[in-house]
C-alpha cells in the first residue's frame, strides 16, 4: 500500500469514516486564540430560535465559522448538531447521513437505524428517510440547533429541495442555521419579507473599532494606540481576515510604520498570505504548509503520510497556537486551515513545485482510502492524475445495476476525469457506460462500451466479475437498437456467467434480444428460466425479464406465467425509484397485452401510452418501435384506423434510424399492409362488411362479450347487437365461432403476398 512513506506513521490510527460517516465533519472548531467575543451577534442568532431559517452569509474571512463556534462554546455543545460540509456532500445520501448522524449525537430518538436509512435508499430520501428523521425529532422536547457550515460547497438544486422540505416540516424546537458564502436557494427573499428569517451578513460581522482593539488585545500584542486601531479598522473595513494577517506580520519594532504601510497599501489579503506570511516561517515549516495545502482538513497522521515525515501532529499544534490561520476541533484532532490561506498556499505550491502536486495528491488518496473516507480519497486520486487509482476508486463506488449509485458524485468525478488517458481507460469507460445507461442515454452507453472492450477482458472488478462479461451483459441490456449484436452479446454473457445469479440475468438479456428478434417461442423458454433464477436482489433485471416474458408469451400465443407477476414487479420498481426505467416501460407494455387479452383494449391503450411516454426519452430504441406497434394493433382493434396507421408510422420512424431492429421490421410491414389493404371484405353474397362491423367482429373474436364490446367502443349495447346481426347475415353464418372462422378466411384472402 504505502511503501516507503514512513510506513508506521502512514497507517491511520483509527478509521476516519465509519459506515459512511466522517467523524471530523461533525465536530465544530475550537475558538482561536484572541477571538473577539461577539455577544450582540450571539443574541441575534438565538433570536432565530423560532423562525424558519437562521442565515449567516458573508464572503471568506468574515468569521462566520468562528462566530458559530463561539455560540456552541457559550451555550454548551449538548444543544448543537454540527456539520462541516464539503464538495462531496452534493450527494444527498452523504449530506443527509451526516445531518442525521449529527442529530443523533444530541437527540436520543434519532438512532443508528435512522442514520443508515439515509444511505440505504438515496433516491427515496425525500419520501422515506427524511420523514423518518422528522418523525424521530417530533418526539423530543428540548431546543436544539442544527448548524450547516459552508453550505455553498454542497448546494445543488436537489440538496436545496430536500433542505427546504426539512425546513418546512421540522419541529419548531429545531433551529436550522445555514452558514454560507453565497445565499442559498431556500426562498430567502420570501422568508425575509415574512419576518421568518434571521440573518447575519458581512456588515454585521465586521469588527468595529472597539472590537479591533479587543482583537489585538486578545492576541497578546502590545496595546495599539487609538490612531493605529482606527487606521487598521479603516483599512480593512473591519474584515477579520486581514486583521489577523496584520497581527501575524506586525513587527516588534517599527509598528507605527508597518501599520502606516499596511493601511496605505492596496494589496489583497491572499497576496500577503502567499508571500509575506510564508516569509515569516522557517523553510521546513514553509514546505510543510505548502505540501499539506492540498488537503481540506487534516490530522497529524494524514500530514505525515503526505509529507513523508513524522511529527506533523506537534507542528500543527504549534501553528494553531501561533494563530497561523489554522483552527482545530475541540478534540484537538482535526485541523482546518482557513480557506484563504489554503488558496494562497496552493497558488505558491503550484508556482514553485508543480511536479510535486500529483505525488502529494496520490499519497493523500491512499491514506484517505485506508481511513475509510472514499469520497475524499477519490477527489485526491483524480487530482493526482493517476488514472488507475481513480478508476479503481470510482468503479468501487458504482453499483453495477442499481439505481442507487452515488449519482451526484459519480457524475462530478466522471466529468473531472476528462483528459485523454482517462477517456481511454477501459474500466472507467465501463463505469461511464453504466452511468449513461442509467440515464437512458443508450447511444453514449454503446460508445463507451466500445472503449471498454479495448481493456483486459479477464480483469475482475470488486465483485469478481470479469470485464468481458460485464461489457457483454451491459451491451445486451442497453443495445436495443442493434438486436443482432445484442443477441450475440447476450449469448456470450450467458456462456461466461460466473454464477447462477448472473446466469439468470444474462438469460434475461438473451430473452429480450430473442423477443425483439421475433423469436417469441424461444424467448418464452429463455425468460421462464431467467425469472426462475434471478433473485429479488436485482429488481430491475427481474422486472425486465417478467415484462419481456409477458410480451413473448403473448406473441407466441403461450399461456401466461408472467401476468400474475406484473403488478408486484411494478410496485417493487416504484419502491427503488426506478419507475421511469426501461424495465418499468416493458412491464407496462406487458400490462397492455394482458389487458387486451382479458378483453379490455381501452385499458390496454392507457398502459401502452404510459410506456411510450417513458420510452420516448430514447428515440433510437427498438423498444419504442415495439411499443408503437403494440399500440397500433390495439388501436386497430377498437376501430381507430387513422390512429393505428399513425402509430405504425411512428414505429417506422424509429426503425429507419436503428441499425438492426430484428423482427420488428416485418411486423411493421405486416401491420401496415393490414391497415392499408382495402377493407373489401366481400362476402359470398357480394355484400361488404362495414368498418364498424369488422371492428365489432374482431373484438368478438378476441373473446369479448357484447356488453364489453359496447364499453370498449363507447357505443350502446343495442348498436353492438345490430352490428353483429348484420355481420352474421352478410357472412351467411349463425354462430359466433363460424363468423370468426369466416373472418379469418377473408383476412387471409385480402393479405398481400
Amino acid at each position: 500500500m504505502t511503501h516507503g512513506i514512513g510506513s508506521e506513521q502512514a497507517r491511520p490510527l483509527r478509521q476516519t469514516a465509519e459506515r459512511g460517516v466522517v467523524r471530523a465533519k461533525l465536530v465544530p472548531p475550537r475558538l482561536p486564540r484572541g477571538s473577539v467575543s461577539r455577544s450582540g451577534l450571539l443574541g441575534a442568532l438565538r433570536a432565530g430560535g423560532h423562525r424558519s431559517l437562521t442565515l449567516v452569509s458573508a464572503p471568506a474571512g468574515f468569521g462566520k465559522t468562528t462566530l458559530l463556534a463561539e455560540w456552541v462554546q457559550t451555550d454548551g455543545p449538548g444543544r448543537f448538531a454540527w456539520v462541516s460540509l464539503d464538495a462531496g456532500d452534493c450527494e444527498p445520501g452523504r449530506f443527509w447521513t451526516h445531518v442525521a448522524a449529527a442529530l443523533s449525537g444530541v437527540e436520543p430518538d434519532v438512532t443508528e437505524v435512522t442514520v443508515s436509512a439515509m444511505r440505504a435508499r438515496p433516491r427515496r430520501i425525500g419520501d422515506l428517510a427524511l420523514p423518518r428523521l422528522l418523525d424521530a425529532l417530533s418526539a423530543g422536547t428540548d431546543d436544539v440547533v442544527l448548524v450547516l457550515d459552508d453550505y455553498h460547497r454542497a448546494e445543488t438544486p436537489e440538496i436545496s429541495a430536500l433542505l427546504a422540505e426539512f425546513m418546512r416540516y421540522r419541529p419548531e424546537r429545531v433551529q436550522l442555521v445555514v452558514s454560507t458564502r453565497s445565499d442559498p436557494a431556500l426562498g430567502v427573499a420570501r422568508l425575509r419579507a415574512g419576518g421568518d428569517l434571521v440573518e447575519v451578513r458581512a456588515d454585521a460581522l465586521r469588527f468595529d473599532e472597539a472590537e479591533v482593539a479587543s482583537f489585538f488585545d486578545g492576541i497578546g500584542l502590545p496595546e495599539l494606540t487609538p490612531t493605529e486601531g482606527h487606521q487598521l479598522a479603516e483599512r480593512t473595513g473591519g474584515w477579520p481576515a486581514p486583521l489577523r494577517l496584520a497581527s501575524l506580520l506586525m513587527p516588534e519594532r517599527g509598528r507605527a510604520t508597518f501599520i502606516e504601510q499596511f493601511s496605505g497599501a492596496s494589496r489583497h489579503v491572499v497576496d500577503y498570505l502567499a508571500q509575506d506570511v510564508l516569509d515569516l516561517l522557517d523553510p521546513e515549516t514553509r514546505d510543510f504548509l505548502l505540501q499539506v495545502s492540498i488537503l481540506g482538513r487534516f490530522t497529524g497522521s494524514l500530514c505525515d503520510a503526505v509529507t513523508g515525515t513524522t511529527g506533523s501532529g506537534a507542528l500543527l499544534a504549534d501553528l494553531e497556537r501561533a494563530n497561523l490561520f489554522i483552527s482545530v476541533d475541540s478534540a484537538g484532532e482535526w485541523y482546518h486551515p482557513h480557506q484563504l490561506f489554503t488558496e494562497a498556499l496552493r497558488v505558491e505550491l503550484t508556482r514553485s513545485k508543480p511536479t510535486l502536486v500529483p505525488v502529494l495528491h496520490a499519497r493523500a488518496a491512499r491514506w484517505l482510502e485506508a481511513a475509510g473516507d472514499l469520497e475524499a480519497a477519490t477527489d485526491h486520486a483524480i487530482a493526482s492524475r493517476d488514472v488507475h487509482l481513480a478508476s479503481r476508486l470510482v468503479a468501487g463506488q458504482v453499483q453495477p445495476m442499481s439505481v442507487s449509485g452515488r449519482g451526484a458524485n459519480i457524475g462530478r468525478w466522471l466529468a473531472a476525469l476528462s483528459w485523454p488517458e482517462a477517456l481511454r481507460d477501459p474500466e472507467l469507460a465501463f463505469v461511464r457506460a453504466v452511468a449513461a445507461s442509467l440515464a437512458n442515454q443508450l447511444d453514449d452507453a454503446a460508445d463507451w462500451l466500445d472503449v471498454a472492450r479495448t481493456g483486459d477482458l479477464g480483469a475482475l472488478d470488486a465483485t469478481g466479475l470479469p470485464l468481458g462479461f460485464r461489457v457483454d451483459f451491459l451491451e445486451s441490456v442497453t443495445g436495443v437498437n442493434d438486436v443482432g449484436r445484442a443477441l450475440a452479446s447476450a449469448q456470450g454473457a450467458v456462456a461466461a456467467a460466473p454464477n447462477s445469479t448472473w446466469h439468470g440475468i444474462a438469460l434475461a438479456c438473451l430473452g429480450q434480444a430473442q423477443y425483439l428478434a421475433g423469436q417469441g417461442a424461444e424467448a418464452t423458454v429463455t425468460l421462464r428460466h431467467a425469472v426462475g433464477e434471478i433473485s429479488d436482489a436485482h429488481p430491475i433485471m427481474l422486472a425486465l425479464a417478467v415484462g419481456t416474458l409477458g410480451l413473448a408469451e403473448a406473441s407466441a400465443g403461450a399461456p401466461s406465467h408472467a401476468d400474475p407477476l406484473l403488478d408486484r414487479r411494478a410496485d417493487v420498481l416504484r419502491n427503488v425509484g426506478a419507475d421511469r426505467s426501461v424495465a418499468a416501460a416493458v412491464l407496462l407494455l406487458a400490462g397492455g397485452e394482458r389487458a387486451r387479452r382479458r378483453g379490455d383494449p381501452q385499458g390496454a391503450l392507457v398502459e401502452l401510452r404510459l410506456a411510450i411516454d417513458i420510452l420516448a426519452d430514447m428515440p433510437r430504441s427498438t423498444w419504442l418501435a415495439d411499443a408503437f406497434l403494440l399500440l397500433a394493433a390495439t388501436e386497430r382493434l377498437v376501430g381507430h384506423g387513422p390512429g393505428a396507421l399513425e402509430a405504425v408510422d411512428r414505429a417506422q420512424e424509429v426503425l429507419d434510424r436503428v441499425p438492426d431492429a430484428g423482427g420488428l421490421v416485418a411486423r411493421a410491414a405486416a401491420l401496415r399492409a393490414a391497415l392499408t389493404a382495402p377493407s373489401r371484405h366481400a362476402t359470398e353474397f357480394g355484400e361488404e362488411l362495414s368498418e364498424r362491423e369488422v371492428v365489432v367482429l374482431r373484438l368478438a373474436a378476441d373473446g369479448l362479450q357484447q356488453r364489453e364490446i359496447a364499453d370498449q367502443l363507447f357505443i350502446s349495447y343495442n348498436t353492438v347487437k345490430s352490428h353483429l346481426k348484420a355481420a352474421y347475415r352478410k357472412l351467411g353464418v349463425t354462430s359466433r365461432d363460424a363468423a370468426i372462422v369466416r373472418l379469418h378466411q377473408l383476412d387471409a384472402a385480402t393479405a398481400p403476398h
Binding site: A241, H268, V269, D271, A274, L340, A344, V347, R351
Partner: protein, 80 residues
C-alpha cells in the same frame, strides 16, 4: 486552429495581486494598480468563464467589473 467561440475576458478585482496569481487563474495576465488588479485572458467558453469566477470566489476576491469580447479575429496581436 479555429479560434471562433473563444472569449476574451477582462476581469477587475479589488485589491492588488502579485503576477504569480496569474498561473493560478487559468493563465491569465495580471496587472495591478490603484488598489485594483486587472486579469486578462482568453477563455474557451461559458463553462470555462464560470470556472474562473469560481476560482476568484475561492480566493476571496471581490469582482468589480467583468467584460467579454468574442475573440474570433486573427488579426489581433499575439493571436495565431
Amino acid at each position: 486552429m479555429n479560434d471562433v467561440g473563444m472569449i476574451l475576458c477582462t476581469i477587475v478585482v479589488a485589491g492588488e495581486l502579485d503576477s504569480r496569481f496569474g498561473d493560478a487563474v487559468e493563465g491569465m495576465t495580471l496587472t495591478a494598480a490603484d488598489g485594483r488588479t486587472e486579469l486578462v485572458g482568453t477563455l474557451t467558453d461559458q463553462a470555462h468563464v464560470q470556472g474562473v469566477l469560481h476560482q476568484l470566489f475561492d480566493l476571496g476576491l471581490e469582482v468589480v467589473s467583468f467584460t467579454t469580447t468574442p475573440d474570433g479575429r486573427a488579426d489581433l496581436p499575439g493571436v495565431r
